[in-house]
Amino acid sequence: MQSVQTDVIVVGGGGAGLRAAIAVAQSDPRLRIALVSKVVPMRSHTVAAEGGSAGVIRTDDSLDNHFDDTVSGGDWLCDQGVVEYFVAQCTAEMTQLEHWGCPWSRKDDGHVNVRFFGGMKVQRTWFAADKTGFHMLHTLFQTSLRFPSIQRYDEFFCADLIVEDGRVQGVVAIEIATGEFYLIECKAAIICTGGAGRVYGQNTNAGIVTGDGMGMAFRHGVPLRDMEFMQWHPTALPGTGILITEGCRGEGAILTNKDGYRYLQDYSLGPPDPWPRPKAMELGPRDRLSQAFWHEEQKGRTVATPLGQVVWLDLRHLGAATIHERLPLITEVAKTFAGVDPVVAPIPVRPAVHYTMGGILCNGQTETPLRGLYAAGECSSVGIHGANRLGSNSLAEIVVFGKVAGERAARYVKAVPAGKSEAARRQADAVEARLVGMLGRDKGERVATIRDEMHDAMETGVGIFRKADGMQAACAKLALLRERYGRGLKLDDRNRAFNTEWLSAIELGFTLEIAEVLAQSALNRKESRGAHTRLDEFKERDDVNFLKHTLAYRTGDGPPRLDYAPVTITKSPPKTRVYGGEGKKAVMT
């Protein structure tokens, strides 16, 4: 086993991880940083984010507006103190990215342009065409090259944390090219490993979004919070689940069913003005739009295609000039993967799993309950998204809290002594033995078998709409799958060098545990709120009994132990969550 000493480890090289690493480097260039990522950073899933990133800049907008939109968007499950902090930092972070070269789309006078996004009262979504995540990620990655104190470990698979004396002292990582194990010792670790969308089969996520960091933290006693809240993005391509950005609707696109009818007006999102109106119709929040699709499907008003039921996302009225200038990526994606040119035909879309609102419990300073462990980005539950995330709040989240995590970790490491190498080494050896042991088996089930059954269980039992018996069946099935996984999988690939079958088996272990946490958390939330909506006796929001966060703790081989924690309400007491209604016409920018 190779041994490396460093001060701060950042696990994950996406937007949050890179921002955190840069923050550590800027706060003290003498601190050693190890950026450990299972892919080369520009492949991280931040790259696929399309629509934009929120930050108040218009004079007719305010931090209070952004705060209100976010809290109501989250169906009042947000920790409002953290949201207040968040909205106040967004614009500065977007400006910082601009200084670092991010090619934000501009107005004619050279100022940054902002567009409407779902659930937002005023335009505040900064965008770089419809490839905002791509541009942000490349800007952050290329800027990170300016800092020699960031030592990168590209294509190193982080397999476990080393926790000794109640604090994080390192990670065990596999150098993918060789299969060699590395013990990287540290004083602090920042987890930025992204979401867990691959728990489901139909999703917009990359293959790497398997919840590794959530799984690692979970296994070391850190609770996962609010895992039952998974976001279905309303407009993804059927079959592949490839994302068609909300930015289309921000530019004025409409959703129609098989009769050409703008069906969202039937779901308290209307009236259907012939022009876009903020927080109404197609600019409503994602959970409501995805739920509307499900209802339309039940009523038989969706369109049947070989790849499943769809509705139409119609951009034709926007005109070729706007489509090509503002939405070039989805134009290319629609043509390549759906055979449709959005200038002349509507795009077939359906909901697909997109974002994990829940995650590793941390406070507003990204500190988890485990000393020395921080979490930022989609893998964390810092408290800003609540029960449903607004579009363009996630790209903002990764840089706002990536920076916080970096600065906090930098401060922390100066105050703590180095850890005990021999104890860390013994733990690391045990991890290596366990994982290398997976390679020897020539009997057992294939990775794909367990994975596909997990997907079926989740899609069937813990989908957009949930019922007690469906969730119970999913929980039982997942417990069984964990058991079957625990007996050992058969791997065709016995190599140490570049063994991606082995790595996907390790990932599956994390994903299965997270799936069970998700299903159990959902079963036990006996209300409907945001993205967790039930069709059984718990159809309504219940602020008396369930205005609280779900915390899931690992118990070993069994299902998680659930606990609850209060939600912090400051300025916005829970109200009825209302969209649509009468209002002014949106001035599109």
Binding site: A177, T178, E180, A497
Partner: protein
């Protein structure tokens, strides 16, 4: 990476494996004909300085069957060379825009080819008429 036994594939015969590369090599080879033709012209220029007899001898040599064959081949390949020259010319220019829209590469290529053809015809007419 030193610990992993990577495999480096040889480059031998690289240009024969893809029609794009074959066309590229023909393009590059056409400059050989252009170079030889240039040398012939330079020799002719030199013969001109040596007096009328040398000049007439040079001109007579040009009418040999071998020379005619070379010149016909050279006309074809240098013509192809000119076409490929104009095809890549837009890549050497900065981003050209006309009235706010990007100038299509086809315009530069077509314009250049026409200009080359036109100039060649003009030179031919002048020389013949003289």
């Amino acid at each position: 990476m030193a610990r992993v036994k990577t495999y480096v594939r040889p480059m031998q015969g690289w240009w024969r494996k893809n029609p794009y590369y074959v066309r590229y090599m023909i393009r590059e080879a056409s400059s050989v004909f252009l170079a030889i033709y240039t040398v012939i012209l330079l020799v002719g220029l030199y013969r001109l300085t040596q007096g009328e007899a040398a000049w007439d001898a040079w001109r007579a040599a040009l009418t040999s069957p071998g020379s005619l064959l070379f010149h016909w081949l050279a006309l074809l390949t240098v013509g192809y060379h000119a076409y490929t020259w104009w095809k890549v010319a837009p890549k050497t220019a900065p981003d050209l825009r006309i009235a706010g829209r990007p100038l299509p590469e086809l315009v530069v290529t077509a314009g250049g080819c026409l200009a080359t053809l036109g100039t060649s015809v003009l030179v031919y007419v002048i020389v013949r008429w003289m």
